[in-house]
């Protein structure tokens, strides 16, 4: 097993970075580790289907060279499910019909988990009125803007936004 500084930790397991630096994090996940949750929609950063968390921050794994993530902690949709079953947001997606075909869903969910952490830290978005505000309520407009990096060809957006606001929107307007 690789040493932690020389390894990429993926869902808690140390993984040796690929020898060929051309391998993207997405290809490492899907083709070498058989973690097929993250999807390859566009391979150009444009659709968000490949979204995973790196040290808790959402990124598009298709534009990430895997070697660059050595020493970091990557969590995919497979890693979000806890011992007591699905992540609360996964349950909310089921409840609110936050998907149809499901292709974009792992990316949507990882992205929303990252979004919640950003809101918590006070990261502003383009539609945040008061940039100086310490706390930003995850209302519908904020969620829509913040999730715009995740496309859904089935048009399940209403369910997606509902699932997210229900899960994180205790202070929602």
């Amino acid at each position: 097993m690789a040493d932690s500084a020389d390894a990429i930790r993926i869902n808690g397991t140390a993984v040796e970075p690929p020898g060929d630096p051309r391998v993207s994090l997405l290809d490492l996940l899907r083709e070498r580790l058989e973690l097929h949750g993250a999807k390859k929609g566009c391979d150009q950063g444009a659709c968000g289907a490949c979204t995973v968390l790196a040290d808790g921050e959402r990124i598009v794994s298709c534009l990430a060279l895997a070697v660059q993530y050595t020493g970091r902690e990557v969590v995919t949709i497979e890693g979000l499910t806890g011992e007591d079953g699905p992540h609360p947001l996964q349950r909310a997606f089921v409840e609110h019909d936050g998907f149809q075909c499901g292709y974009c869903t792992p990316g949507q969910i990882c992205s929303a988990v990252g979004m919640a952490a950003e809101l918590e830290r006070g990261v502003p978005s383009y539609v945040t009125d008061d940039l100086a505000a310490e706390r930003i309520a995850p209302g519908r407009d904020e969620v829509r803007e913040r999730m715009s990096g995740n496309l859904c060809r089935c048009g399940a957006h209403n369910g997606i936004v509902a699932a997210i606001t229900e899960t994180y929107g205790t202070e929602a307007r």
């Binding site: 060929d20 630096p21 051309r22 993207s24 391979d43 150009q44 950063g45 968000g48 979204t51 921050e57 959402r58 990124i59 598009v60 534009l63 990430a64 060279l65 070697v67 660059q68 992205s111 990252g114 979004m115 950003e118 830290r121 006070g122 990261v123 502003p124 978005s125 383009y126 945040t128 940039l131 100086a132 829509r144 803007e145 913040r146 715009s148 990096g149 995740n150």
Partner: protein, 327 residues
């Protein structure tokens, strides 16, 4: 994608030592470079990862020093950026998606390459940026998203950065480190206009590294804003964007700094408009006249004439809003 080797730089000196060889490209978040590697538009033999270099954001004199490796999100969320330089926070959060902003570095954002579709389509079209001298298929082609200011007959591409437009309006300086030492260039002089060499996009020497961006204190008693107009409400490049810093006292303009995005090969500092405004009345007519003065030299192409009026209206609207906030 052709094979390359990968090395991680520990500090700026290390990066520049590694970067001095032929065929080296620096690697930030990779969000533009990886795409270009896949298309074989960029063909480096070595990538030197510079994300381990300074990403600190700290007060310097009355201004701010931002390490080139700072992620776009980290800049946009920084308390001093949100309160003192709202134009910068807003410009960054208008760009790309949250995922990409988490990966993208400040240095990489400034040096990202154009989104001209002919530049990206390496198989089918001629492009002077990719193959100097072969011609430009955008000049007489589909050029709705292309430049109206500062372009040449060799290249009409626009620079895609939002962050850079805010930095241009904020009078930022770019700190560079190269084999011959350190130097500083104003952000407005980092990018070159295309002329007959559109493949040479910046004043950087081979192997020269961006180490930091320095922002002076904002001019006293001013407010700033960024507005981006695009084909859809979110997650698209600018058709036109406006960054403005405006001071108004007793109905007169005491300070004006304006920069435009989406209209030129570089973040476009609108100095003609600024000169027209300074000391004059802060009225809608004056704002419109200043915008028109700036755009008097605009050279629209077949498909992008709409940008002239769109830019005039957006400048007028942004200045109007900033003036009302100070009334």
């Amino acid at each position: 994608m052709i094979p390359f080797t990968y090395a991680r730089a520990e500090n700026a000196a290390d990066a520049v030592r590694l970067g001095a060889a032929d065929g080296v490209k620096y690697l930030g978040g990779g969000t533009n470079l990886v795409d270009l590697l896949r298309e074989s538009i960029e063909r480096p033999t070595t990538l030197v990862d510079v994300t381990g270099l300074s990403s600190a954001i700290e007060e310097r004199d009355a201004g701010l020093l931002i390490g080139a490796a700072a992620r776009n999100t980290a800049v946009a969320e920084h308390r001093l950026v949100r309160t003192r330089y709202p134009v910068l926070s807003r410009a960054i959060s208008s760009g790309a998606s949250a995922q990409i902003r988490n990966m993208a570095t400040v240095g990489g954002n400034l040096l990202q390459r154009t989104r001209c579709p002919y530049f990206y389509d390496a198989d089918g079209f001629r492009c002077n940026k990719r193959n100097p001298g072969e011609g430009c298929d955008a000049v007489d082609g589909s050029n709705r998203t292309h430049a109206i200011l500062g372009a040449s007959s060799a290249c009409v591409a626009v620079h895609p950065s939002d962050l850079g437009v805010a930095l241009a309006a904020l009078d930022a300086d770019v700190h560079l480190h190269g084999t011959t030492g350190n130097r500083t260039v104003p952000l407005t002089e980092l990018h070159r206009l295309p002329g007959d060499r559109p493949d040479v996009e910046t004043v950087l020497e081979p192997g020269e590294l961006i180490t930091a961006i320095e922002l002076p204190a904002p001019p006293p008693a001013t407010r700033s804003a960024y507005r981006k107009v695009r084909d859809r409400a979110s997650y698209a490049f600018a058709l036109v964007s406006v960054a403005a810093v405006l001071g108004v006292e007793d109905g007169r303009v005491t300070a004006a700094r304006i920069a435009l995005g989406g209209v030129a090969p570089k973040p476009w500092r609108a100095r003609t408009a600024e000169a027209a405004l300074l000391g004059g009345p802060a009225t809608e007519q004056a704002f419109r006249a200043a915008a028109e003065a700036e755009l008097a030299d605009a050279k629209p192409l077949r498909d992008n004439g709409f940008k002239v009026e769109l830019a005039a209206r957006t400048i007028t609207a942004v200045l109007g809003r900033l003036a009302r906030e100070q009334a």
